[in-house]
Structure formats: C-alpha cells, structure tokens
Amino acid sequence: MTTITELAARDDRVASRPFLARLLSRPEVGSLVAAVVIFLLFMAVAEPFRNVANIGTILYGASTIGIMAVPVALLMIGGEFDLSAGVAVTTAGLSGSLLAWNFGLNVWVGVLFSLVLAVAIGAFNGWLLLRTGLPSFLVTLGTFFILQGVNLGVTRLATGNVASAGINDMSGFSSAQAVFGSEVSIGPVNLKITVLYWILLTVVGAYVLLRTRIGNWIFAVGGDAAAARAVGVPVRATKVGLFMAAGFCAWLSGMHLLFQFNTVQSGEGVGKEFIFIIAAVIGGCLLTGGYGSVVGASIGALIFGMTQLGINYAGWNPDWFRTFLGVMLLLATIVNLYVKRRADLR
C-alpha cells in the first residue's frame, strides 16, 4: 500500500476526498434523508405515530412492499423493469390456492406449484426479453396484462367467483400459515413474519450486490451490457436470474397474501408494480440501470409504510396518499440527483 500512497502524494492535482463527500455520494443517502424527514413530520403531527405498539403495523406495511422492492431494485440496477411484479404476486397466491382447493390436495402441494409457476413467469419474462430484444418495459407490460386476465379468468372458471375459495379447513394450512403468515410479539410490538423476510431479503440482496461476483455482474449488465459481454460476463444468465429472483419474491408475497387472508382477490395487485419501482427509485436506483442500492430500496419501502399509516394517524383524508407519493418520488429523485452532483464535485 505504501507505493500507492506515495504515488498519490506525487500527483498534486488530486486531493483526497473528504469523508462526508464520500458518504454523501452513496446512492441511498437521498432516501435516508427523506425517511428521517417523514419520520419527524409524522412524529410531530400524528399522535398515534408516537405509540411504540404501532411500530409493528408500520413495519408490516413497509415489509409487504419491501419484499418486492428488493428484487425490483436489483432488476433495475441490472437495467430492466418488471411491470408484471404486482399482478405476479396475485398470480402466485391464486395458483397455489386454486390448485390445492380444486383437487383437494395438501396445501403445501399448492405452495410448491405456485413457487414453480412464479419463478417460471420470471424466467419467461427474461427469456422473451433476450429472445426478442424488445425493451423490458414492453415485454413485462405484455405479461402484466396477460396475468391480469388469467387471474380473473381462471379464478372465475374454477370457483365461479372473483376470489379464490377459503382453504383454512384443508390439510397443511396451519403449518403453511405458520411459515407465511405468523406473528411474534416483542414487548408491546407485534411483528409479522413478513418483516423478518423483508430484512433477510434486504441483507441477502445487499450482500449479493456488493460483495459477490454476481453483484458485480448485475452492475455491469445494467451499466453497459455490451462491455460486460465483451469481458466475459454471462449477460443472459444474469438477466434471466434477476427476473427469476423477482418471481421468487412474488411467490413469497403471494403466499403471505394467501395465508394471511385465507382467500385472494383475483383483481388485486394492479398498480403495485409502480409502488415497487418508486421505492427502488427513491432508494437511488437509476432508471437507466447500472447504479442503485438494495438498502435504499428498502428505505424507500419504509417511507411508504410510514406515509401510508402516518396519513391515517394524522387524521388526514387518505385520498391524498397517492398525491403524497408522487410528490415524494419527485422530491427524492431531485434530492438524490442534487446530493450526488454536489458530492461528486467535491
């Protein structure tokens, strides 16, 4: 290391960058600032927000978004969108439920079938994208509509209804519910198991992205796919893998939906895909790929969780939630851009 510092000292055009500037140039800084501001805002205006017991509720709301925001952020860093992510969650929940109910099977058979299906949908998205060379926006917009229709159509064919039939009296339900929908109490705080999954996914996602070879490849295929291919990165496998990861997380979300509420509404999930993307963007992911953070996306999800409940707790009309989100999205991206520019100049 001595030679490097000596050499660095010789080139007096470049001074070393201050620690703060280096900290500020991290992608998740914008979202962290926003999260603190929103936290303080609701602490000030909403009485129930200060209640410790509500931490569980806030984190639950954040976790249902965060479980999907993590793979969506990875996918965006890898240069692709997934607009089918929201309805794929519903597809996962419905397919498991309908298969088990229709054939009177153990619920776990449905769970496994749903896993295979959800990952296969992700793989299909990736395969179609690479096969056709179309932008992922179009390909996944297509699967978004296909799945939306299939969800409604198949559910009505199987049950004559728009929701899947209740399966809580079937074998295997209680054990599956323990895995996907249970709850633990820590003091006054009730934590849903999804919070655990969310934190686990964030840790694993951030680790994979920053500390493994695959993470390096994800950054590279999003930043410059041709360059990545030229130095020997398996671009296709990386992209398909990212779509399959999104499929896996859609399965996890879908299973929670099913075992939390016992039935799944077949029209659910539409519009969720944008929430996942917004969480990732607030977290510092560039729409063009090659840059972003998993931790940032999870902070983005936390911002959603806080806002969703904060608006209720503050006694404001929840009609304004979406407006608030839009403003948040714009502010966060502008702050991200500004902070990054300032930090890079220093």
Binding site: M1, T3, I4, L7, A8, R10, D11, V14, S16, R17, R22, R211, T212, R213, G215, N216, W217, F219, A220, G223, D224, A226, A227, A228, R229, A230, V231, G232, V233, P234, L286, G290, Y291, D344
Partner: protein, 275 residues
C-alpha cells in the same frame, strides 16, 4: 513459434462478405500490426479472434489445433485478451470493479469478493502504467479518456496470458499518452505475449511492429515482415498506394497554397467536384 493463426478465415453477415480469405499468424514475443482504413474489416477480424462472433469459413488455429470460440469468456479462458476501441468499461462502476469485471477474485467459504486484494492489485497495475487514481472507488466515467484506456489495457495485460489484441488503442489519445500505450505494447511483447495491434496509423505501427498486415475491403493486400518494408512504403501502402497516386494526379490542379480573397458566395454557385 506461432501461437494463434488464421487460415483463409472469412466472415459474412448475410450477403455481405466482411472478411474474405484472411490469413495471418501471431507469434510469441512479436507485435503483429493489422492496418486498414475504415470498413476494411479490422473490427470483424477482432470480433472473430476475441470470440464475439464465429467465423463462417476457414479455420482458426490455437497452438496448431483448430478452435472456435463460443463466447468472449471462452476466448479469454484460452488466453486471448482484447482491449476494445470503445473500451468495454461500465461507466458507473468503480475503477477496481471494472478492472476485475469477469475475473473477480474471491475468497473464503462464501466466495465473497476479495475487495482488499483487488484494490491493491488494481492500484499496482495502474501505477505500472504511470497513472495514479487515488480513489479507486470512483466511477470510471469520472476518468479522462487516456486514463480509461490505460485501465482497459492494464486489465487486459494483467489477465491476458498469451495473446493480447489492441483495437486502435492510440486512436483517441494525445501524443504523450500514445507514447505510454506504445511503450506498454513493447513491454507486453518483451514479456513473451503475442500482440495484435490494430491501427490505422502507420507511424505508430512502424514504431513497434514486427509484422504488418494491411486489410482492404475485407481482404489482405499486404503481408510483410519489418525487414521487407520501410515506413514510407508502409504509409504509402496504407494510404492506398495506387489510389493515392491517382488522387494526387486528380488534385494536381488544385494548388493547395492558393488563397482566395473573401467574397459573397451565392447559394448554388459552388459546383460539386467532378460534375
């Protein structure tokens, strides 16, 4: 000893024959210069050798036995490294991540990236090339063109064990940085690598080359050793030989030293040449 040789290699994209009957050999410890104008087929040649596109006719021999690379990774694993004209660096990734992209060092049970070693090696290799980047965490996009070229070349030499292909490495550089790159070409030769140096600058080629191949419209028009050639001959061949003579004949009446007094030019009053 020839490491890599091409025998009558051809490549067609549909009905376009980008490369026809190209033969050349790369020997250990020698610099083989491939020269040619735009569209001569230089890029296609690189793509075949580096494994981006398969050739459609002829054969590619590595150590005397025929090979066909399925992917750049395949070519790399057999010791063929390439520095591309467009540099092949991901702009938003840090310098050390780019340096080790596709060849990441890993350690431990979880196969975690060995970041400390990668940063150390990257800094050492770059300082060998005479460039200093104090913060290797900076994105490559914030470096100058010359620095980026150096990162790409240092990377290829560090990983390219046997044959290194340089695609117009001096095209976008200033005089001093071109010198650095050419010195590195010589170093790679002395280290026993076979170097393929693609360029359209005969002066740069003649400074370092042992063997010269000129491509024109996808065919080899000259294949000569340094002993059989002078710089002037090379420059003339490169510029098109006969074509240059023809052009100078055509422009004889042009009088390049003439200065025309300023006047208003009416629209349409300048004739197209040759009309």
């Amino acid at each position: 000893m020839s490491i890599l040789s091409l025998e009558n290699v051809g490549k067609s994209y549909g009905n376009v024959h980008a490369l026809r009957d190209v033969s050349l050999s790369v020997r250990q410890g020698e610099v083989t210069c491939v020269l040619g104008d735009n569209g001569a087929g230089k890029s296609t040649l690189i793509k075949i050798v580096s494994g981006l596109h398969p050739h459609t006719s002829g054969s590619l021999l590595l150590d005397g036995s025929p090979v066909s690379f399925g992917s750049p990774r395949d070519a790399q694993s057999q010791g063929i490294a390439t520095v591309y004209q467009d540099l092949a660096l991901a702009p938003l990734m840090s310098v050390w991540r780019n340096f080790f992209l596709g060849n990441e060092l890993r350690k431990g049970f979880l196969r975690t990236l060995d970041i400390a070693s990668m940063k150390r090696i990257c800094a050492e290799e770059l300082s060998k090339m005479g460039i200093v980047i104090p913060d290797l965490d900076r994105p490559v996009a914030s470096l100058s063109g010359g620095q980026r070229q150096c990162v790409a070349i240092a990377r290829a030499i560090y990983f390219g064990a046997r044959v290194i292909i340089l695609d117009e490495p001096t095209a976008a550089l200033g005089v001093k940085q071109s010198g650095v790159v050419l010195r590195y070409v010589v170093k790679a030769r002395d280290a026993g690598l076979g170097v393929i140096f693609i360029t359209h600058n005969p002066h740069h080629a003649y400074l370092v080359g042992n063997h010269f191949v000129i491509l024109k419209l996808g065919r080899v028009v000259l294949d000569a050793h340094r002993d059989e050639l002078t710089l002037d001959q090379l420059a003339a061949e490169m510029a098109g030989g006969d074509e240059l003579a023809e052009l100078s004949h055509e422009l004889r009446g042009a009088d390049p030293a003439k200065v025309v007094s300023p006047s208003v030019v009416e629209r349409g009053s300048v004739e197209a040449p040759g009309s």
